[in-house]
Subunit: 262 residues, 2 copies
DNA sequence: GTCTATACCCCGATAGAC
DNA sequence: GTCTATCGGGGTATAGAC
């Protein structure tokens, strides 16, 4: 009995995965707004009504894809954070370069100054991981960071996964703050209340100026990625990887992370 | 004969405008991917085939909407630039505040230092104009700065209108550079070739570091707007106008524009 | 320039047999 | 859990009369 149950459950998981895979393909071909259960079923050799045993509606399928996408990019960011933390704290060359664009910040002259740019490098590594993920999954990126799907409102289940990248960036700045402090110019008085609220909500230990700039840098980071993925850089930026890494590093300085130059 | 021609042409222009207006409404309700000629015709009391006299295909209608949207936000940006240039160069309060969020940068202490933050104020004014436009036309914003419409590729006719906001930002930095120079930290060596290419392409008079940072700031500006419009700031940023103005001002410093503090 | 009619496609969702 | 069949919509695009 429990063996049968195990078999059935496994089959159910496999079919569910196949449905989501096919749906992702359709996302690429037709976009989220036109995601259709029928087309997915057709491509899978099923009949449309059979899909309703797995997803009670089109929107539920869409939600599953959105959650998966947030988890996927969040996992990429967290993995880059772990890797950069484990290996990047001093030794020059990493054993295996994680991805093409996840190199460290420029080896400019004084590579031996202390404290080195560990936290800035972590920030850049996470930023590059997000960009790499977006380049590898442009349609899933569009699903979560592009125009909202008309007529669809994201349920509560998406907000946890949606916050993983942001939490990773916060963690880096908190680490930097605890390890060596962060250097930031003062904030315009107008923004003080909002900055204090942000700090209290997101990272109680952080100075309000850092929290506010962190949120700005977070959205600006995705501005860089979106412009590249959505084609706004066509005929403008040529060497996009170098451009992105440089811009990400400057964003890191914006939130108070220090580079190696002392 | 020419009178009839005039009447006919006027009627054609009016019907074309009505079609585009209705299409914009549908954009809001259903999204660009599902924009349908039939639905537009139905709403206008016409029959679908009649629309083909005005737009030979759905994609042509979409192109017209995209061009209109780029022109609309571009005009808003250019208008803010003109207004800020005409009135903002010293006198404190403007006669009529252009929009709610287009106030000038904080009146921090020394308001009389020279040179004042004229160029920074122009930058902020243009940034706020873009944001205001986006808040007023979220679906058109999504059309041009959100996910690309699947299966649609923008024709050459869109690139001119698409560049108007960027050109306005470039103009501000060029003005600042010619009037008082701009202050920028050096660029990482890696980025030099790309930065020089960007400067040559976009603003021959500008230092490469400024050109590169300008492009980054341009995309980051839209990152801020997109996160607000697309809902990523929900439950995160509360006072979005103050937050945005502050972030836009810091972006301006990023491209070398000086604030009033001397 | 607008109409009717038409060819030929698509969709979400459900009922009920097996 | 999958099937057929069905309801009740939707769409692009063209032909040809007026």
């Amino acid at each position: 009995m429990s063996a049968i149950r195990g078999v059935r459950e496994r089959a159910r998981i496999e079919v569910t995965a196949a449905i989501k895979d096919e749906a992702r393909k359709q996302l690429a071909a037709e976009g989220a707004a036109k995601l259709s259960l029928r087309a997915v079923a057709r491509e899978l050799g099923m009949v449309s009504s059979a899909l309703y045993r797995y997803f009670p509606s089109r929107d539920e399928l869409l939600t599953a894809l959105i959650v998966d996408a947030y988890d996927s990019v969040g996992e990429a960011a967290e993995h880059a954070h772990r890797t950069a933390t484990a290996e990047g704290d001093g030794r020059a060359a990493a054993p295996r370069p994680p991805t093409a664009s996840a190199r460290t910040v420029p080896p400019t002259g004084s590579a031996r100054t202390a404290p080195p740019a560990v936290h800035l490098n972590r920030w850049v590594a996470v930023a590059c991981a997000v960009r790499d993920w977006a380049l590898a999954h442009p349609h899933e990126y569009a699903l979560i960071y592009g125009s909202p799907v008309p007529g669809y409102t994201a349920p509560q289940a998406t907000v946890g996964p949606a916050s993983r990248v942001g939490l990773t960036l916060i963690a880096i700045v908190v680490e930097a703050h605890e390890a060596q402090g962060i250097a930031l110019p003062p904030l315009a008085g107008e923004l003080r209340p909002e900055a204090e609220r942000l700090a209290a909500d997101l990272a109680p230990g952080l100075p309000p100026a850092a929290a506010a700039r962190l949120v700005a840098a977070w959205s600006q980071l995705f501005g860089l990625v979106s412009f590249e993925i959505f084609g706004q850089f066509n005929r403008v930026v040529e060497d996009r990887e170098v451009f992105f890494r440089q811009a990400a590093a400057e964003l890191a300085r914006t939130v108070g992370l220090l580079d190696g130059h002392r």
